[in-house]
């Protein structure tokens, strides 16, 4: 069942800025990544989903309801974390959380307490004196306080330290376990790789591709760097035509391997190498060509 549906969404701000003919859908219970460089149109798409702006053309629906006209109804089950955090600076953290809980009609305070403990947040003191990370934590708690089943996150971990970034990803995975549908916009590959089922790449306002993260993991190549005692041994090893040789340099041979390693490992073992190193291609390396190339729609 599709929870989020975007059909032929276009919002033209002129000067080639905006988003153009965007199509994608997010299944119920799926974590959907939204990856792209700065200014690609991720936030503009999310603003449509939140009902902040109206499409020039096309439709944006969540659970079959139009995101602009049915915005208030949709917010009952939705959690949103904006990319630019703007809180009420004249409040203290505590009163802000209370205020937002009142507005969201969250009666049970235990979840808020749990989240504060989880992120080690002490919300006392005025918001305007808080660091970026603390404000981010406050906003994250607001997003999750109502236990939403649709969650929209716009670059959620910016401002968090690595420890808290990991905790945040665990929180997402936990929400997924509980059946939540999540759209996660990011420009950090690692974050997307750890949490998403599928990922859309967006560039210059156009959808470049949608990749399934599982099949992508299988596409990833590994580079074996095999070191031999001397140059001769290395060259002898490289003579075997069945090996996926990438490069031979001095006493080292680089192999580019895709799939099960059994046979190749046996061949390597037979030549008595002195050392071996395995490096997995990162998601970043896989995706980077989408960023560099001029993609024609």
């Amino acid at each position: 069942m599709k929870t989020i549906e975007v059909h032929h969404l276009t919002k033209d701000y002129g000067n080639k800025k905006g988003i153009f003919d965007l199509n994608f859908s997010v299944q119920k219970g799926e974590v959907f990544g939204f990856l792209g460089p700065n200014g690609a149109g991720k936030t503009t798409t999310i603003r449509h989903l939140m009902g902040f702006i109206r499409p020039d053309s096309g439709t944006v629906t969540i659970n079959g309801m139009d995101c602009f006209s049915q915005h208030a109804r949709l917010q009952q089950t939705l959690g949103y974390l904006p990319g630019e955090i703007a809180l009420f600076n004249d409040m203290t953290g505590t009163s802000y959380l209370k205020f937002m809980a009142d507005l969201k009609r969250v009666k049970d305070q235990t979840r808020i307490k749990k989240l504060m403990d989880y992120f080690e947040l002490n919300p006392k003191g005025p918001i305007r004196k808080m660091s970026k990370g603390m404000k981010q934590k406050l906003a994250i708690i607001c997003t999750f306080m109502s236990d939403p089943n649709i969650i929209i996150l716009d670059e959620p971990t910016s401002g968090l330290d690595p420890l808290m970034q990991n905790r945040f990803i665990e929180l997402i995975l936990q929400a997924k376990k509980n059946g939540a549908t999540i759209l996660l916009s990011s420009h950090i590959f690692e974050e997307v790789e750890k949490s998403c089922d599928r990922t859309a790449i967006i560039r210059n306002g156009r959808l470049v591709t949608i990749e399934n993260m599982n099949s992508l993991a299988q596409k990833k190549k590994k580079t074996y760097t095999v070191t031999f005692a001397d140059q001769q041994a290395a060259q002898k090893f490289a003579l075997d035509p069945s090996l996926p040789i990438q490069k031979v340099s001095n006493n080292q041979v680089l192999l580019s391997v895709n799939g099960a390693p059994g046979e190749i490992l046996q061949k390597i073992g037979a030549c008595h190498p002195v050392d071996m190193d395995i490096k997995t291609q990162t998601l970043e390396e896989l995706f980077l060509h989408y960023y560099d190339e001029e993609v024609t729609p």
């Binding site: 603003r47 009902g51 902040f52 915005h71 208030a72 917010q75 703007a86 809180l87 409040m91 009142d102």
Partner: protein, 264 residues
């Protein structure tokens, strides 16, 4: 209406409220304290010496009673300018700043419609300006009673303040419309503050009389029926037009906010 938001609005405006309340009270009490029909002759002497200056701020005519005195020396300038400043600050604090900084996203990510949000902001502003003018009216009545018992025509004084409130509601309408249409605070100040200030300046110029008097037809301040109230003439048409104008501006603000794009 969203009660938690209303509470927040009231508490966030409380400092400005008391500041302006204190300022207006200071002027009100001073002017009432100075009431003295003999002094009126002296002040009309000023009017002879500085005709332009005094009439620009509405201080013309000779006061024959306390109400007229208050009207001449307060309702041409102080009671128009200070509440206007309050209304402009409110428009920024309750609407524009939320759009400008993006904190409106907090409100829109709660299960409340845009209509309810903007309606709450409008009601909060109306409540605050009404409270301000009511409190000032009370101070005026009490201080008149203490200083000059029985001198003030209380009914007409209240009528004068009700019409002043209606005038401020029009300004609130202009301010809200500017906040609902503009994307950035600087445009808000250009229109939301600029238009009321221009009206105010036009009123000062038209007060100076002669050829400039015609300017009174292009400023909303002409709608304040101060002279009519003082002289007991019929003025309901003024109040009615102010109410209609304010309602039209409010409706248009809500309509616009409900369908606009918010890049927050």
């Amino acid at each position: 209406m969203i009660i938690p938001l209303l509470k927040h609005n009231l508490s966030s405006a409380i400092k400005t409220f008391f500041l302006l309340f204190a300022l207006i009270c200071l002027y009100t009490i001073t002017i009432i304290y100075m009431y003295n029909p003999e002094l009126s002759d002296m002040l009309s002497g000023y009017q002879d010496v500085l005709p332009g200056m005094m009439s620009a701020v509405g201080m013309t005519g000779i006061a024959s009673n306390l109400l007229e005195w208050i009207q001449i020396y307060l309702y041409g300038f102080i009671m128009e300018l200070f509440p206007m400043i309050f209304v402009i600050v409110l428009g920024n604090r309750l609407i524009m700043s939320h759009i400008d900084t993006g904190s409106m996203a907090n409100l829109l990510s709660t299960p409340h419609s845009r209509f309810r949000i903007i309606f709450t902001q409008l009601i909060s502003s109306i409540m605050l300006i009404t409270c301000l003018l009511s409190a000032v009216t009370a101070v005026g009545i009490i201080s008149s009673h203490i200083l000059f018992p029985g001198e003030l025509d209380i009914t007409r004084y209240i009528q004068l303040n009700v019409s002043t409130l209606l005038l401020q509601l029009i300004i609130l309408g202009i301010v809200c419309l500017a906040a609902c249409v503009c994307n950035e605070a600087r445009y808000y100040y250009t229109f939301g503050a600029g238009i009321p200030i221009i009206f105010f300046l036009l009123q000062m110029l038209s007060n100076m009389g002669e050829k400039l008097e015609k300017l009174k037809y292009v400023t909303i301040y002409t709608l304040l029926p101060a002279k009519e109230i003082i002289h007991g003439e019929s003025y309901w048409i003024y109040n009615l037009s102010m109410i209609l104008l304010a309602l039209a501006l409010f409706s248009f603000s809500i309509f616009w906010f409900d369908r606009r794009d918010l890049s927050i």
